[in-house]
């Protein structure tokens, strides 16, 4: 008891209270994040209802193969993140760091593929604001779809970028032995964040890539 007491930040009474508070704080933060993306999803929904044809046409412009690959990459990273947390709970330092590094690598791979997609769109003059030029015959609202695509995926990518940084910090601290089976809530909290970023993609992928693929 005395040993666990010294680990507790001074404004908390028990380790359990501290852990509860941290977990709840992360969930409340994720609620904020849901609303943050929710604003964009609302805009997307309104415009899709008004311009269903343009949304179908716009969706077909996107690269389905790369989108699918990225979905698999990100789902895989969620698995490795969960495995890292499991290792932290068991106190397997090396395994935990290994899985954290795999998680960060998969996240980086996702960003690389995304960057390639962006670059490809840029060369086709489909990046809004930078020499944007729709192909002939496309309804003008396809531009609106592409704007939504870029802003939504870029905001997601930014979150993933932050997540990669956090996971790398975790790996460094983990390597130095900062996490024990008794106290490893940063791994759990950043894990929650990582899964959240994945879930956003799980919504983005069908809404952007899979609207009209019959």
């Amino acid at each position: 008891m005395a040993e666990s007491q010294s680990l507790v930040a001074h404004h908390f009474s028990t380790l359990e209270q501290e852990h509860d508070a941290e977990t709840m704080g992360m969930w409340v933060f994720l609620a904020t994040e849901v609303l943050f993306f929710g604003g964009l999803f609302s805009v997307y929904t309104v415009y899709r209802v008004i311009f269903p044809g343009a949304w179908d046409a716009g969706s077909r412009i996107l690269d389905l193969n790369l989108g699918t690959l990225n979905t698999a990459v990100l789902l895989g990273s969620s698995l490795t993140m969960a495995l890292a947390l499991h290792a932290a709970k068991l106190g397997n330092r090396r395994t935990m760091v290994f899985f954290l590094l795999v998680t960060a690598s998969l996240g980086t791979l996702f960003l690389g593929v995304k960057g390639f997609e962006y670059y490809h769109k840029y060369t086709e003059h489909l990046l809004p604001g930078l020499g944007f030029q729709l192909p002939n015959g496309m309804p003008v609202q396809v531009g609106l779809f592409l704007r939504m695509y870029f802003v939504m995926t870029a905001l997601h990518a930014f979150h993933l970028f932050v997540g990669i940084g956090l996971v790398l910090v975790l790996a460094v601290f983990g390597w130095r032995g900062k996490f024990t089976p008794l106290k490893h809530s940063p791994v759990e909290l950043i894990g929650l964040y990582w899964h959240f970023v994945d879930i956003v993609w799980i919504f983005l992928f069908p809404l952007l890539y899979l609207i009209d693929r019959s």
Partner: protein, 542 residues
């Protein structure tokens, strides 16, 4: 609780006095003070903009400032008042200082996040001030498209960046309060023993956490639009400007409740403390805060009755806006019932509280008038609307802020404020406020539109009255600033519990020690239990 003892005892103020110890503090009390100094600074700037507008409106013709300057003045007044004073004023200052103390905690759940929120606030403020320095912004605080994105060549991007950033300071504060109230309560401090100030801040934090991100994403789109011409709301590419209004008000109507809910919490404390009776219908008042938070999310469309939104939607929004008046009215009735048969003393905080009830009632009832479709269409964008929301924001929130500042001043500083000066300026503010804003109701009904630098001569008499009122109001605001600052240095030492309140924050010394309480408190009675208080006092004296 002996006054002489608390002077020499280490407390949160004298424990360290370097600037570094203030700028790197994680003590919720010190962060509250950092916020206090900041919001007063921004109140002064935004107030100066208002004073210049009132001066311009002294005469029908535009003679003091250019029309463009006038547009920038009302935009700056709105942006700074809303985001840099009204929203943080009560939660981030009084809430930060007193929520942990009221629930018997040593600090908020995340002290570093708390400090981060202040720094984020300052960075957001620097951007917004940057927009002022680089020529100002003329869109109005609502940044309506397409004007803000396609036509305005003022500092839209910097200003929206400031608003985007400052939103995160609200979110951080909200997360901190929610978790603190859930997880940090002292033993025995059940939900229904919480002071109502805590309840209203809890409801308020829910709004901050759930509404602010929508604002963030909306102003982000505006900023991208303006900077890169991307055009999410540009009709030429199929975009819908009305959609922008929906998104903006989906945040900004709940934001009105962000500004008023904490103020209502303050009033519950003041009314109870100075009538020495428990708040009538405690649970009803507590739940009415949550009801306001929930209903507040469903009425945003009443800002858009003339925007071209569907008339059926308008009808529903109109109905819901009537409904949201109910929990507010419940609070007013319950405060009045609390006064009934109480031992009322007209100390300064009580004068502010009574002023609040009167002004809030006027602001609330005119709000119900505006919720009715036909009337709203008639007075949309007139001074009637301006007067209505100033009765809520200035008449209610600022009154509550000042009342709360006087009430808790002894606890914060360990000094008493001069009572006579306090009462005098409370009355000055009440008179000045009404003289400023009541004529604007009449101006609005007579058809004077808002946001114009000039007006037809027949409106001059009422405008002169309003400007005269504004100068009285300005004196009323400067007075407390002077005598409160004076009191910090020269005021009489304050006892631990000058108002004989049973609330936990008063059971500590004034000013409190760094960890708030010398011994962790254990709660055995309800909030506002004056009978218990008297018994305990009797036992001590006997």
């Amino acid at each position: 609780m002996e006054t002489t003892l608390s002077e020499s005892k280490p407390n949160y103020l004298n424990i360290s006095t370097t600037i570094r110890s203030w700028l790197l503090t994680t003590d919720h009390k010190r962060i509250g003070i950092l916020y206090l100094v900041s919001v007063i600074f921004f109140f002064a700037i935004a107030g100066t903009a208002a004073a210049m507008m009132r001066l311009e409106l002294l005469t029908p013709r535009g003679d003091l400032v250019q029309p463009e300057t006038y547009n920038k003045l009302f935009t700056m007044h709105g942006v700074i008042m809303v985001w840099f004073f009204m929203i943080p004023a009560i939660p981030a200052v009084l809430g930060n200082f007193f929520i942990p103390m009221m629930i018997g905690a040593r600090d908020v759940a995340f002290p570093k996040l708390n400090l981060a929120s202040w720094y984020v606030f300052i960075v957001g403020a620097m951007f917004t001030m940057g927009a002022v320095v680089t020529g100002g912004i003329d869109t109005g605080w609502t940044f309506y498209v397409p004007y803000s994105t396609l036509y305005s060549n003022t500092s839209v991007v910097i200003a929206t960046a400031g608003v985007f950033i400052v939103g995160f300071s609200s979110i951080f504060t909200g997360i901190n309060f929610i978790v603190t109230i859930h997880k940090m309560r002292a033993p025995g401090m059940t939900w229904f023993r919480l002071p109502l100030f805590v309840w209203s801040n809890y409801a308020n934090s829910l709004i901050m956490v759930l509404a602010t991100p929508i604002l963030a994403i909306t102003v982000l789109l505006i900023g991208l639009d303006h900077a890169f011409g991307i055009g999410f709301f540009d009709p030429s590419t199929g975009g819908d400007p009305i959609l922008y209004q929906h998104l903006f008000w989906f945040y900004s109507h709940p934001a009105v409740y962000i500004m008023i809910l904490p103020a209502m919490g303050v009033i519950s404390e003041l009314i109870s403390a100075f009538s020495r009776s428990r708040v009538f219908g405690y649970k009803v008042v507590a739940f009415s805060s949550l009801a306001i938070a929930a209903l507040g999310f469903m009425v945003w469309g009443h800002h858009m009755f003339v925007s071209g939104q569907s008339p059926y939607a308008s009808t529903v929004f109109s109905f819901l806006s009537f409904v949201v008046a109910v929990p507010s009215a419940i609070k007013v009735f319950n405060w009045t019932a609390t006064l009934n048969k109480g031992h009322i003393s007209f100390k300064t905080p009580m004068l502010y509280a009574l002023g609040f009830i009167g002004l809030f009632t006027v602001g609330g009832l005119t709000g119900v008038m505006l919720a009715s479709l036909a009337f709203d269409v008639h007075v949309t964008d007139t001074y009637f609307v301006v007067a209505h929301f100033h009765y809520i924001m200035v008449g209610s929130t600022v009154m509550a802020f000042l009342g709360g500042m006087h009430y808790w001043f002894p606890k914060i500083t360990g000094k008493m404020y001069p009572e006579r000066w306090g009462q005098f300026s409370a009355i000055i503010i009440f008179v000045g406020f009404n003289l400023t804003f009541f004529p604007q109701f009449i101006l609005g009904l007579e058809g004077m539109p808002r946001r114009y630098y000039a007006y037809p001569p027949e409106f001059q008499v009422l405008n002169v009255a309003s400007t005269a009122g504004a100068s009285i109001l300005a004196i009323g605001y400067i007075l407390p600033l002077l005598y409160l600052v004076w009191s910090v240095f020269k005021g009489a030492p304050a006892p631990g519990n000058p108002w004989n309140s049973p609330s936990l924050e008063w059971q500590s010394t004034s000013p409190p020690p760094k960890d708030n309480f010398d011994e962790p408190p254990v709660v055995t009675h309800e909030a506002y239990d004056y009978a218990h208080m008297a018994q305990a006092q009797g036992a001590l004296d006997g």
